[in-house]
């Protein structure tokens, strides 16, 4: 069932209609096979780019869609309910445009953003390393100034679109200062010495490539430094607030598909001479799933509206990410339960949804880190 949405404008309604059409015709029919083959649908993402979905939340003057986050996130949710890995591609790409859009100079925005938002290119965001995950400030990759350029070296990890992206936001250390020593570089994928490794073999979201990137003395011109030297952590954390809302919306869309599948199954499956949906034990399970999804949606929309009106929204983004992804985990697990043995087979999509939900509790800040963010915020209030 399509989710009934309250949207702020006619354009937003038509945008959602377009997204539903794309999701129904171009995403949903292909998701399972691509997941099985761990094959990234580059052309499908390009199609979404041409439709204007890769720059929705950015200003029109740079080629973006000028849409509020409230609308952009609902687009992500719709995409995720058809194919989570594709929605993730849109979310990560949107994140990858953020450092230049928010911290770049006018000149950098004018020269980089139109292509990045134009739909033909795909971006990546490269903060984590093998030994630096939740503790992002401990990253070890280095960037050394050398005349008019920087030379980057080290190994980045867990890079979504690693090996597929056209450009990478790379966070490297420009000094040993723990918090103030990190800087952000916008590196084209064809830079000499940027070496994507074999993609990770993952439990879910297999059609979204994740890889390590080896930086073997990658030389980039100094105008590829975004913000000032040492701004890296500030940029990273600020970008992640928006990224977390993206993940919230994706988790909500995924959970919605699991619920839709479970409801359809419960209405069809007969046991003891009646539909299993008519057993209260099953209908209460469905009711709890639906309630969680509704609350997850309301949560990310509330945070998005704060962002759209210019209010701080970091703690709300953390709460939303925490709640939506924990909800997705529970709802997809319960969807398998409603399907019984059938749900445990690859004949039905719910086992895949469960596998896809798991990583959402981990990436873009583990849910333990989200609690840390929320806790620190509470303590800072007094």
């Amino acid at each position: 069932m399509p989710v009934e949405r309250v949207l702020p404008s006619d354009e937003a309604c038509e945008l959602i209609n377009l997204v539903r059409e794309l999701a129904r015709d171009e995403l949903a029919p292909h998701a399972a096979a691509h997941e099985e083959r761990a094959e990234f649908p580059r052309e499908t993402v390009r199609l979404l780019g041409r439709a204007g979905l890769l720059g929705l939340a950015y200003p029109e003057e740079y080629g973006g869609g000028g849409m509020p986050y409230e609308v952009y996130l609902q687009v992500l949710e719709e995409l995720a309910s058809a194919w989570a890995a594709v929605a993730l591609a849109v979310s990560v790409h949107t994140l990858s445009c953020y450092p230049v859009a928010a911290f770049g100079t006018d000149e950098q925005r004018k020269s980089f953003l139109p292509d990045m938002l134009g739909g033909e290119l795909l971006g990546a965001y490269s903060l984590s390393e093998a030994m630096s995950g939740s503790d992002a400030g401990s990253l070890q990759a280095r960037a050394k100034r050398d005349g008019d350029s920087y030379v980057l070296s080290g190994t980045k990890a867990w890079v979504t679109h690693g090996g597929t992206a056209d450009y990478y936001n790379v966070f490297c250390r420009t000094s040993d200062d723990a918090r103030g020593g990190v800087s952000t570089f916008l590196v084209p994928a064809d830079a000499d010495g940027l070496l994507p490794q074999a993609p990770e073999r993952k439990m879910g979201l297999r059609s979204s490539p994740t890889a390590q990137i080896v930086l073997d003395n990658v030389r980039v011109p100094a105008d590829r430094l975004i913000g000032n030297e040492g701004d890296g952590m500030r940029i990273a954390l600020s970008a992640l607030d928006g990224g977390r809302l993206g993940i919230s919306a994706i988790a909500t869309g995924l959970a919605q598909s699991a619920l839709d599948a479970a409801v359809a199954w419960a209405k069809e499956r007969q046991q003891f001479g009646q539909r299993i949906a008519d057993f209260q034990g099953v209908s209460f399970l469905l009711a709890d799933m639906a309630t969680g999804i509704e609350a997850a949606r309301a949560g990310y929309l509330a945070a998005a509206r704060r962002r759209d009106t210019g209010l701080p929204y970091g703690p709300q983004a953390a709460m939303s990410k925490l709640f939506a992804t924990d909800t997705a985990m529970r709802v997809t697990t319960d969807a398998v339960q409603v399907f019984g043995g059938y749900g445990y087979t690859t004949e039905y999509p719910v086992e895949r949804y469960l596998r896809e939900a798991k990583v959402m509790q981990i990436f873009e800040g583990t849910n333990q880190i989200q609690r840390l963010v929320i806790g620190r915020h509470l303590l800072s209030l007094r």
Partner: protein, 259 residues
């Protein structure tokens, strides 16, 4: 080359359609309206011809107020302007009456070529293109799976059961297209925003010079006398293969007059 594309809003093909008890016409309110699928191919072909030869693409729709959603979709795909013939008196028009009204509306738009889908998914009569050609005196190039334009010459490949015929005419011409002809584009978000600013002309009967007595339920030459719900599906026949499965299948198909 200026092109008019006739676009119809039809009930969503994925939903169950109903006839209204009151006047036995299609109940358009009870289901979501979408652009007739074949008309998307017509719009796409017009846009491709425009991209290759220049000119303007105008969308022509006859239908109730809400058909404007479909017009907007065609505009967001890239058409330049639209004409919407909307008047309560048109309600219940059959194919003959519709072709009359569309021909009148066409008279208000300067054009060289008219493109339509070969049929709509609701009525499925596939007669409007021919009727329009007859009423306007334009050449009829129907069932096109390929269209080429060279100056004022329009050449099509007409899809047939066994292959295709090459048919050629001078403009003005009316072309109906089959789904083989192209792959329709999706609108883009920028197209959606741009569509708001494109000219949309609304015509009443009087504006288009349509005589009320020739349209609507009373002006239609055909009418629905009665209708009944489709009977529930019967259980199928299972043919068990005991070495003679092929023969039994052939006998069954012959008994149904399928072969």
């Amino acid at each position: 080359m200026n092109i008019v594309v006739c676009v119809k809003q039809v009930p969503d093909t994925y939903e169950e359609k109903k006839l209204s008890d009151a006047d036995k016409t299609l109940d358009r309110e009870s289901v979501e309206g979408v652009m007739n699928e074949l008309d998307e191919y017509a719009v796409e072909e017009a846009l491709r011809l425009k991209e290759a030869h220049g000119g303007e693409v105008t969308i022509l729709t006859m239908g109730p107020e809400k058909a404007v959603e479909t017009i907007r979709k065609a505009l967001s795909m890239g058409a330049d302007s639209a004409v919407h013939v909307v008047d309560p008196a048109l309600h219940g028009s059959d194919a003959l009456a519709t072709s009359y009204a569309l021909a009148k509306a066409l008279g208000t738009i300067e054009h060289d070529l008219v493109i339509l889908g070969v049929e709509s998914t609701d009525a499925r009569m596939s007669v409007i293109p021919a009727m329009l050609a007859e009423r306007t005196g334009a050449a009829q190039l129907s069932f096109a799976r390929k269209v080429e334009v060279d100056g004022s010459t329009v050449k099509i490949e007409r899809q047939t059961d066994t292959g295709y015929d090459v048919v050629e005419a001078q403009t003005p011409a009316i072309v109906s297209v089959v789904e083989k002809i192209n792959e329709p584009r999706y609108p883009s978000f920028k197209g959606i925003m741009a569509a708001k600013k494109k000219p949309l002309t609304t015509l009443t009967l009087a504006d288009a010079g349509i005589e009320a007595s020739n349209v609507g339920l009373s002006g239609s030459g055909t009418s629905v006398a009665e209708f009944a719900a489709r009977p529930p599906k019967q259980a199928g026949t299972i043919v068990k293969d005991e070495g003679d499965g092929g023969v039994k299948l052939a006998e069954f198909l012959a008994s149904q007059k399928i072969i």
